[in-house]
Symmetry: C2
């Protein structure tokens, strides 16, 4: 049985791993050659980790596998009559079972100006670009002669008060505190501003209220301004305008306000809620035979009574579930597997040095204990021993020396030699 998995994120990777060594023939397709550990992306964006610390070559994962093979490509369409996946470069990949794990992308709510004038926090190249950009702003600030211009170079607006925005804002504050005082004696930390903008009336809305409030208090104590119940109305390369009428002169707007699902073109009947693909309780597309969707791109409830959050744990659990359904079919088992059930093991987010929030069932952690729990869990889930060792080293270095080694500006060119 030929299984094609589209997407090497948390869902697709979990599915491919669960099928590794089993009596099916698996092709894992991704546009990138690596699996990205997105929860640590903000640490690349703040010069704490190198891209390779959180990007793991997919071919390496399946290096010893006899039945899982990787293919780099972008899927443009699924031809259900011929049961092939079409890649953008014209290649066709046939399948008996198809798993769509294509994830999500930055959501600008249709506002192309926002897309153009902000920097996202979803892909590895965005995190790198953000690192380069922030450091370049500091260099420009040292050369600014006009005080208003200076202030714009040193003002950083972060849009979105979910875990990504909160974690990035906290880490950026530490980066500025570390480098402004030492590397840029021309500048002072109190000249810099970080403004975190959130549309809802609290931060970290997926956590219980007291934890969101704790996060806000901690950020404010560390010198970050927050704007709750506030939307971004417009942005250009000099300023951002908020729904309250406030205009903030800035050269840096970070977009962490949300993501929307992406997937190849499908039968219109497959359209589910809010752009996610409609699936049944066994994660199959209702309209297309032998096709599954998991993770951010699928509108699954997993027994929770609401669409699952667009986070890695539901994607991973769904990936493993779909693998077992496919194996049942490959082995000709008659008995139908129980519907997919999502088990919520908890959520966590760091706010900065020695501070994080976590909720696991009824347990709520915060402060240093939450932070230690965050470190342990994230280190555990990082793929590969080398990555773990290197990340642990970087974290320890940063913690003890209060230093970030990777604060260099590099721009890698596009490759004109490969079209």
């Amino acid at each position: 049985m030929r299984v094609v998995i589209v997407g090497g994120g948390f869902g697709g990777l979990a599915c491919a791993r669960a099928l590794d060594g089993k009596p099916v023939d698996v092709r894992l397709i991704d546009q990138n050659t690596y699996h990205l550990f997105t929860p640590l992306l903000y640490q690349v964006a703040t010069a704490l980790l190198n891209p390779s610390d959180i990007a793991y070559p997919l071919r390496k994962v399946f290096r010893r596998s006899r039945n899982v093979r990787f293919l780099q490509g972008v899927v443009s369409e699924v031809d259900m009559d011929r049961r092939v996946v079409l890649l953008r470069d014209g290649m066709e990949v046939p399948f008996d079972r198809l798993v769509l794990a294509t994830g999500s992308t930055n959501d600008y709510f249709g506002n192309q100006d926002l897309a153009r004038h902000t920097i996202g926090m979803k892909r590895l190249d965005e995190a790198l670009r953000l690192r380069n950009h922030v450091l370049a702003c500091l260099e420009r600030a040292t050369q600014a002669t006009d005080p208003q211009e200076l202030q714009a170079w040193l003002t950083f607006v972060v849009v979105g008060g979910g875990p990504t925005g909160v974690e990035y804002a906290g880490a950026l504050r530490e980066l500025l505190r570390l480098v402004l005082g030492r590397d840029y004696p021309e500048l002072r930390l109190d000249q810099s501003r970080i403004v975190l903008v959130e549309g809802l009336d609290r931060l970290l809305s997926q956590f219980r209220k007291p934890l969101g409030e704790y996060a806000r208090r901690t950020l404010v104590e560390r010198g970050i301004e927050t704007r709750l119940s506030t939307l971004v109305q417009a942005a250009d390369d000099r300023a951002v305008t908020l729904s309250t009428g406030e205009s903030i002169a800035t050269r840096t707007v970070v977009w962490a306000a949300g993501v929307r699902p992406v997937h190849p073109e499908l039968d219109p009947t497959a359209a589910g809620r809010r752009g996610r693909i409609d699936v049944d309780e066994r994660l199959r597309l209702r309209s297309l035979d032998g096709v599954f969707a998991i993770g951010d791109t699928a509108a699954a409830e997993g027994g929770t009574g609401a669409d699952l959050p667009m986070l890695s744990p539901p994607a991973m659990q769904a990936g493993r579930y779909v693998a077992s359904v496919i194996l049942d079919e490959a082995r000709g088992r008659r008995r139908k597997r129980k519907p997919f059930r999502y088990l919520d093991k908890g959520t966590m987010a760091t706010i900065g040095r020695n501070s994080a929030v976590a909720q696991v069932g009824r347990l709520r952690l915060r402060g240093f204990v939450g932070w230690a729990a965050w470190l342990t869990v994230h280190l555990y889930y990082l793929i590969g021993f080398r990555n773990r060792a290197v990340v642990l080293f970087s974290w320890s270095w940063n913690y003890l020396r209060k230093d970030r080694a990777i604060r260099i500006i590099i721009r890698s060119q596009e490759d004109p030699l490969i079209e």
Copy 2:
């Protein structure tokens, strides 16, 4: 006394460090925010080291300095009448003493086609681009249906048989050996070709003849083809044509055939031999008062009877020498310092795992002993404890596990938010 140093390479950095804490006011200008340890650039290009392992923030070097300050900028011109350096963005930096340490760039001997269709090995972004490119070629090779196309994706031509070309070719062979067998089961190592092209009749011409011959033999034993006394006549994105008439179908031509000096526009009388700036035996420009030139960009003999090689040791020694001349002047010392003398401490180059050549005075090392010496010297000269620790870890990992962790393809975008 205001001292402006243009260039944060080996020469400029050594000069700035020698002036640190002394009674002069130093401005160090570079277009990049980091000092690049170029001898290890080929290891970034072959996925062994991360860019941040060999790029060290210049501001960090002078973080505790009271008299050395960094400025990011590109110097376009030197106005000798007003004694200011003009930056491309319009800024003016006044000086009493000026040190030109602007280094060198890839030399294509005026052939723009070569510049367009090859990848250099001189800057950090080139090394990153080369890493991305080679990995992308392997991905493309797995999808090639035509055998000739497959061969072109797997053929790598390296132009230049100096240390850069030899080290890169050897390291690329190891990368292919490591990843082709394991990560790309679809491909075989013996399908890949590496061709090293050199214009002279031997490799490593700056070493004694037997060492160059040893390097060639070692490379050939490891499966690298060499073409001596051969020039590249033309290149496009499908093939390279050699002066022997041979045409090699390839998607990758690496340009390590030489560098030429670069410096801001100067008085025509400052022009020295082969594009280098004419200086006297105290490294002063003959025509311009209070201006020095060091390193690749200066035509200095240093008592050797010939122009100094374009390598880091002469640049560093010249940087320290010029610093002492400037200090003499700042302190009003009358006695003239002796002319600059270059002390050759030796040269070395790796050929790959367990193999290197080194010559130190009359001593010649090769094989494992040369390799161990190479490791020690390069680790010692790397700036900063953290870089050293990380590089040592990466080297040990690579050596023991025969693995390269950084084989990921990432392209960082240009930053359109900063013009």
